[in-house]
């Protein structure tokens, strides 16, 4: 599945200082869809190069990291259960840096 991932608010520093990543994420064997939960564990394994604790806590994002799926707050779409589709844009923004 082709997805565009964008990291902001300092999170880009955890993945080679690159803000926008066009990625191809395979749906796991035996699953019929890709959820945000799957995507987060994929991101953690494949994109985050340092200090993963700045991005994740447990199986979800660290509190203070905002997530938008197609420019919509993931709190409205079911957070980890949000299912993703081809060409979706997922944005992660940390609120934890400076003011």
């Amino acid at each position: 599945m082709q997805l565009t991932l964008e990291f902001g608010g300092g999170l880009e520093l955890l993945c080679d200082s690159k803000k926008i990543h066009n990625v191809n994420v395979e749906i796991q064997n035996g699953e019929d869809k890709l959820t945000m939960k799957d995507l987060l564990s994929w991101v953690r394994t494949n994109l985050i190069k340092e200090r993963p604790e700045m991005f994740m806590k447990g199986d979800t994002v660290r509190p203070g990291v905002l997530v938008l799926v197609n420019d919509c707050d993931w709190e409205l779409s079911g957070q980890l259960n949000t299912s993703l589709e081809e060409k979706d844009v997922v944005v992660f923004i940390s609120t934890l840096h400076g003011g």
Binding site: G10, N70, C72, D73, E75, T95, G98
Partner: protein, 350 residues
């Protein structure tokens, strides 16, 4: 398509457009345009109901280039126009002299100056104190540098504000920051700061009052606003900031907020409603004999720290027992004059 509806089917509770976010404060789901309006209206209400400004005033916005001050500058400039406050707004930035951090964030402020049409003044530690933070860290190491930076920044903002001849200084401290500060002041037993850290305006008895129009504004909404408006802000952690103690408090607040977003406002309310026992002695305000800045001691903290740096004894002024100035010292030692040791970062030092 079923999923599509599931994902995008939420509607704005004000206009029935496609909802873009859930507000932490009210749990309302709003579309982008309604969110912009509600966000700006609430700040306008805070400004009006607290009488933060008077027509004709000159107001400096403490601008770091970060999300909060960038959104504050944008929103204040907008409200000043739409509601005709009649304010003269300025951007005021402090250049601490931190290569690879402040030089980059100041570029953001320079861009904001043009984008929002607000005049900018930059004051530097080098000009005010003769030292950059890079030079201070080279001398003292990375242990207590945030103490120096915090004390110097507070004064630098006041001095910059005086140079701009402004009547008020506004900062971008948001509700999450204030809740965090309430908690930290409790953890430190810092009664003097606990009683004033929730005030929307402070320093009214001093030369330049400071106020916090974002006192009730959630960090999430500030960042969402900046994101949806595509505002240009800088977000890199200070290269010298270990920020450990404050970091724990911050994380704790964020965890609570995830479980119950109202917790942030409730902590602020708790801070507001604390009654300070009349037997607790509060530090008396005076002025520094050396530089004239407000101080509860003979010398202000910046002068003590600077004196240490210049004499090659940078540990002076760090920690509880200073032993340099002696006089008038012990009254403050007794009543909690242990003002800044263990403060990790002074950005949020009210």
């Amino acid at each position: 398509m079923e999923q599509e509806r599931e994902r995008n089917g939420r509607l704005c509770c004000l206009c029935s457009g496609r909802a873009a976010l859930r507000r932490p404060k009210t749990l309302q789901q709003l579309c982008r345009e309604c969110f912009f309006r509600v966000f700006e209206d609430e700040i306008h209400q805070v400004i009006v109901s607290n009488g933060l400004f008077t027509r004709g005033e000159r107001v400096a916005i403490g601008a770091s280039g970060g999300k909060d001050s960038t959104v504050l500058a944008y929103v204040l400039a907008k409200l000043n126009q739409t509601h005709d406050y009649g304010l003269h707004l300025f951007l005021l930035s402090v250049d601490e002299g931190i290569t690879g951090y402040r030089d980059d964030s100041l570029e953001t402020v320079h861009r904001n100056q043009i984008q929002y049409g607000l005049p900018l003044k930059v004051v530097s530690y080098k000009d005010l104190y003769g030292w950059t933070m890079d030079e201070i860290v080279a001398t003292i190491g990375k242990k207590n540098n945030c103490t120096f930076c915090g004390v110097f920044r507070r004064q630098a903002l006041d001095r910059g504000a005086a140079l701009l001849k402004v009547d008020k200084l506004v900062t971008g401290h948001n509700a999450d920051d204030i809740a965090e500060t309430v908690l930290l002041n409790i953890l430190r037993g810092d009664i003097a700061r606990l009683s004033r850290c929730t005030s929307i305006t402070t320093g009214e008895d001093g030369p330049i009052p400071r106020c916090k129009p974002f006192k009730y504004t959630y960090e999430k909404e500030i960042v969402m606003y900046a994101y949806f408006k595509r505002l240009d802000y800088f977000s890199t952690e200070c290269i010298y900031s270990p920020n450990a103690y404050r970091g724990f408090a911050r994380e704790f607040i964020k965890d609570l907020e995830r479980l119950r977003p109202r917790a942030v406002l409730d902590i602020i309310r708790s801070g507001e409603n604390f009654r300070i026992s009349t037997t607790a002695k509060m530090p008396e305000q005076g002025t520094c004999e050396r530089c004239g800045y407000i101080s509860s001691q003979k010398w202000c903290k910046a002068c003590v720290l600077l004196d240490g740096l210049n004499r090659g004894l940078p540990k002076l002024g760090i920690g509880r027992s200073h032993g340099v100035i002696g006089a008038s010292r012990d009254r403050n030692e007794r009543n909690g004059g242990k003002t800044i040791e263990s403060k990790q970062c002074g950005t949020l030092d009210f």
